[in-house]
């Protein structure tokens, strides 16, 4: 007579496992693609347009009021002047602070100049951007060169120092993150 089969059957439970192979395949494709286009150094463009030729620049009428804002980057500090002044209330020298250029003081001074001397635009005109081809409203100021700052430095000055001055003169940001334009058009020159 045969033995009766055992009733102690062992139930083998296999836990269902998610098949993640397709997701892995997707990852393997996505990661190299994103690595190729990732920007680890954020770069942007600092635009500069050289001034028109001297003949074209002088074609304006003599009745036009000019601000003639100049920032000279000297070895001892910044020299800021209006109307070609070399002394008096339209001239200011901002010395170095602890061996470094006092860029914050320069920007504060330019903010004051913009507020007290330039003021607000008296009108706007429609113009077309030569680069993008889009039209925009250009403000008209009391001074024809109210948006221009002439920046001059010695030939051996590091490029970074000039870029800092361009930045300080372009605009300033308030505590709420609102950007206020100052003198966004730089004119670069060299001190001989």
């Amino acid at each position: 007579m045969a033995y009766r089969p055992s009733r102690k059957r062992k139930v083998v439970t296999i836990e269902p496992e998610l098949n993640i192979t397709p997701i892995m395949n997707l990852m393997v494709v996505l990661i190299p693609m994103l690595l190729a286009v990732a920007q680890f150094v954020q770069v942007s463009l600092l635009e500069y347009q050289p001034p028109p030729s001297e003949v074209a620049a002088d074609s304006g009428t003599s009745e036009e009021k000019r601000l003639d804002l100049v920032v000279n980057v000297l070895p001892r500090g910044y020299e800021v002047s209006l109307f070609g002044a070399t002394s008096g209330k339209d001239y200011r020298f901002i010395g170095k602070k602890g061996g470094d250029y006092n860029i914050q003081e320069l920007q504060d001074h330019l903010k004051r100049l913009h507020q007290n001397r330039v003021g607000v635009a008296i009108d706007t005109v429609s113009e077309v951007d030569p680069v993008t081809g889009t039209s925009y409203r250009r403000p008209i100021w009391e001074y024809v060169d109210a948006e221009v700052v002439s920046i001059a430095a010695r030939g051996g000055t590091p490029f970074q120092e000039v870029v800092r001055v361009i930045d300080a003169a372009r605009s300033w940001m308030d505590e709420e993150g609102v950007v206020h334009p100052l003198f966004p058009i730089p004119r670069l020159g060299q001190i001989q």
Binding site: Y3, R4, P5, S6, V12, I14, E17, I20, T21, I23, M24, M27, L30, I31, L34, L35, A36, V37, A38, Q39, F40, V41, Q42, V43, S44, L45, L46, E47, Y48, Q49, P50, I103, Q104, L106, Q107, P130, V131, A153, R154, G155, G156, T157, P158, F159, Q160, E161, V162, V163, R164, I166, D167, A168, R170, S171, W172, M173, G177, L188, G189, Q190
Partner: protein, 175 residues
């Protein structure tokens, strides 16, 4: 009386040996999120070709134009992967040597003017409508300012009067 144990061979449940992918998935997800955060559409267009660009608060997006690289060893045409080229390979793309920048006789860059003239002729032969005026310059932050002015002068006299300097973005926004 207890039953005698079965003499039949015990059935072995064989499970396929699967690779444990869960931990790898965790890493992949973290890398993917990080890369998605740093993803930029313009990244493919503009990779810095010099290591020490000037820092600026400028926020204009990079665009693809005629691109030049100004380093302490001279002026070069910017090509894909320029930063990885060795000195010998870089020399193939040199437009103007340092001696031209240091020259007291010239106020412009004759080699650059020749290069830009050839570029103009190429554009004309290809029938390109409208002459391009834009040029992108990647210059090291320690480059003497006089070199920059000389480059600006030579470019603008050759008709490239919209110059865009590539800068490293300063997120702070302060001066």
């Amino acid at each position: 009386m207890a039953f005698a144990p079965s003499k039949r061979r015990r059935l072995k449940t064989t499970q396929p040996a699967g690779l444990m992918l869960t931990s790898m998935m965790d890493i992949m997800v973290i890398i993917l999120l990080f890369l998605l955060k740093t993803y930029a559409v313009t990244g493919a267009l503009m990779h810095p070709s010099v290591a020490n660009l000037p820092v600026s608060t400028a926020d204009k997006s990079p665009r693809k134009t005629l691109s030049l690289v100004l380093t302490s060893s001279g002026l070069y045409e910017d090509v894909e992967g320029f930063v990885d080229l060795n000195v010998a390979r870089r020399a193939e793309y040199r437009i103007a040597p340092v001696s031209e920048f240091r020259s007291e006789k010239e106020v412009t860059l004759p080699s650059l003017e020749v290069f830009l003239k050839e570029r103009r002729q190429l554009e004309s032969s290809l029938g390109k409508a409208g002459l391009s005026r834009e040029m992108t310059i990647q210059a090291e932050k320690d480059i003497p300012y006089a070199w920059i002015l000389r480059l600006i002068n030579a470019s603008s006299t050759s008709g490239y009067d919209i110059l865009e300097f590539v800068v490293e973005t300063d997120a702070g926004g302060g001066p």
